[in-house]
Amino acid sequence: MFPKGTKRKFSDSGEEPAVSGDEPAPAAAPSAAVRALTSAYSLQRQSLLDMSLIKLQLCHMLVEPNLCRSVLIANTVRQIQEEMTQDGTWQIMTQALAAAQCPTDRLVATEVLCRQTDAAAQAGQSPKPFSVVGLEEGYHAEEVVMEGDVETEVTMSTLSPVSPQLSSASYLAGTFGMGPCWEEDEDDDGECEEDEEEDSEECVSEGEEGDRDHLSADSRTGEQVFGTFEIKHPAPPPDPALEELFSDVDPSYYDLDTVLTGMQSAPKMGPYDLLESLSSHGPTALSSSSSCRSDLNELDHIMEIIVGS
């Protein structure tokens, strides 16, 4: 059930700093921050952040999402964010994103990069970039890997209109077909919630309507949970050097816990601001091939919709 993850490789393993207790001062030279970014800990922390943000967005669309789970994931995101703020990597990240040119009409159909280890992927699905928030082609965006029985093991993300990623060819076609249906449901950006959330901020998002539709589709669950999911200016990391650095990264989840140490408290920041600066800016490949499971019941439901019964 948990095959071992592949060993990680660094292009500059010689420069790898000590993992714990090493916090380059924000004012230090950019290389120090870059070093922090490339350290095992930071990369794995980034993976965890990406994964958490995906989980928050890709919630079940048919049934109300589990509030407890959403709160716990959001708290995890907040912790990571606080720690990243503490050691300066957050600042680097947001600066890089802010400086980037961000075309707003970039968000298109959402496809996911599948690993070639998957048999079904070999059967003919070409890898496609994962673009929840509009990553461009060429990024080593997040890979959500699936393995095992196609029939029974489907990632959570399949149920979301954002990333209809399934290893089975038939499912893939189906969920792509789903995309527009779901978008139709969600095209009210201004739709704010009912009584219990009247005090939350409005889920207004800037930018292209088309983008917003898609994003607010996912953020709807966030809205329901927390009231606001502001997704602004999704932007790719502009720095090709960074991209190259990360291209070989293969974090092993098994080491994540042993590597991640020492939480530091930091001034509170909204976790949803993270989505502004975009989770997937740090392209890290998920090497773990453990699958995310989803309810077969929901899958049946979706199939019913597709089939039109």
Partner: protein
């Protein structure tokens, strides 16, 4: 092929242990009854057979939010028996229902106006009057909904608990707890509300709640941050201030990004004595003394070998699984489920523990369960041991129940119910 609707979502014995109710994902309730022991057939004594099956909840659609409301039964709680009929409360995410379960084993025969088939008689054939008499008939179990407690929960109901006054009960969702009178369905009192003004500030939810078994003014609720709050309803109408707060200080050396998630309490149960609390979080089960808030009395490692796998378990969502826990009748043994259809029992006195498996292959009727062992990957492995990496995480035992007085346990393994009896040690000691 597995029918998803049959996944058991709750298991509960009634107060005498004569009846065992299960709820499933399809909204059905199945009640089992224990056969009375008979001297003629010593081996069939005390077995549970199906007594009644009924559809408790149906799927609904919330038009305002465009979301489905699942019919899955989250909890069943029996009322103490006060007459020949049995009553139970069952709840899905939004609506609680009170069901009456009664037996009919006689029926009146000899009507004047209609014949045996129920057709109206031709009056000209009626020449004399007779008094209908009650004749025995095949036992029929009738179930009828007596109350529907609806529209009181915005969030998902996770717990219901009947008060020891037998008049009121509470229902808890993620952010609020409501107090009901069993006879009144159009009103409930909100006794706990932890919803923040701005939902963006939400960081903690209610995960479970239960009334004290003897003191009708006391109840406890647990949170996703691993805290327990004991509240006294006499103190204030809105019990937002707790009387006692039970929280174990965090071990700074063990801190990780998953610390909070694994500290989230998935179940809380008062001991039968009312003196202790049993809680379950992701990796441990803890016994708390109501008189000591600073830390638990005892901590039992359920599956510590998962500690190094937390990231994978986070990725596949298993880390959010909510395991229940149970006391035995004398509060000397606690039980909880794990993965791979394993469940664990811890003897609080002898400090011994055992891991058992609920599966068709390993359990034939009247066979003795063989203790199982999980070894760490790469560790020394005995025959029959299971390695951590071979565990099946889709086979999780979330729901277990212990007979109130005897050593009989009910284990729900996905869509199968296992009932184990300890014949040798029927009397608890």
């Amino acid at each position: 092929m597995q029918n998803i609707s049959d996944i058991i979502s709750t298991v509960e014995f009634n107060h005498t242990g004569e009846l065992l109710a299960t709820g499933d994902k399809g909204g059905r309730v199945v009640i089992f009854q224990r056969e009375p022991e008979s001297k003629s057939e010593p081996f069939s004594q005390g077995e549970y057979n199906v007594y009644s099956t009924f559809q408790s909840h149906e799927p609904e659609f919330d038009y305002l939010k465009s979301l489905e409301i699942e019919e899955k039964i989250n909890k069943i709680r029996w009322l103490p028996q006060q007459n020949a009929a049995h009553f139970l409360l069952s709840t899905n995410d939004k609506t609680i229902k009170l069901w009456k379960v009664s037996e009919r084993d006689k029926r009146p025969e000899g009507y004047n106006l209609k014949d045996e088939e129920g057709h109206i008689k031709d009056m000209s054939t009626v020449t004399s009057l007779q008094v209908p008499v009650l004749m025995p008939m095949d036992l029929m179990v009738e179930v009828s909904p007596r109350r529907v407690f609806a529209n009181a929960h915005t969030y998902h109901v996770n717990s219901i608990s009947v008060n020891s006054d037998y008049e009121t009960y509470m229902s808890a969702d993620d952010l609020r707890i409501n107090l009901w009178h069993l006879d009144i369905t159009d009103r409930s009192f909100n006794i706990v509300d932890i919803k923040p003004t701005n939902m963006e500030d939400l960081t903690e939810v209610i995960t479970a709640a239960e009334f004290h078994p003897h003191h009708c003014n006391l109840f406890v609720y647990s949170s996703s941050k691993g805290t327990l709050r004991l509240c006294d309803m006499r103190e204030a109408a809105l019990c937002d201030k707790h009387s006692k707060l039970f929280e174990e200080p965090e071990d700074p050396s063990a801190r990780s990004f998953f610390s909070e998630i694994i500290s989230s309490v998935s179940d809380v149960k008062f001991s039968h004595s009312g003196r202790y609390l049993l809680t379950r979080d992701y990796l441990t089960a803890k016994v708390w003394d109501l008189n000591m808030e600073s830390k638990p009395l005892e901590t039992y490692q359920v599956h510590d070998y998962l500690r190094s796998k937390l990231c994978s378990l986070y990725e596949n969502d298993c880390i959010f699984d909510k395991f229940e826990c149970a006391w035995n009748g004398s509060d000397s043994v606690i039980m909880t489920g794990a993965y791979n259809n394993f469940f664990r029992m811890f003897d609080r006195n002898t400090k011994r523990d055992v891991t058992l498996e609920a599966s068709r292959e390993s359990s034939k009727p009247r066979a003795v369960l063989k203790p199982r062992r999980v070894c760490a990957a790469g560790g020394k492995r005995r025959k029959d041991d299971i390695s951590v990496d071979s565990l099946d995480f889709t086979k999780k035992i979330l729901h277990t129940a212990w007979h109130p007085t005897e050593n009989i346990i009910a284990i729900a393994a996905t869509n199968n119910l296992y009932i184990f009896q300890d014949k040798l040690n029927s009397e608890l000691h």
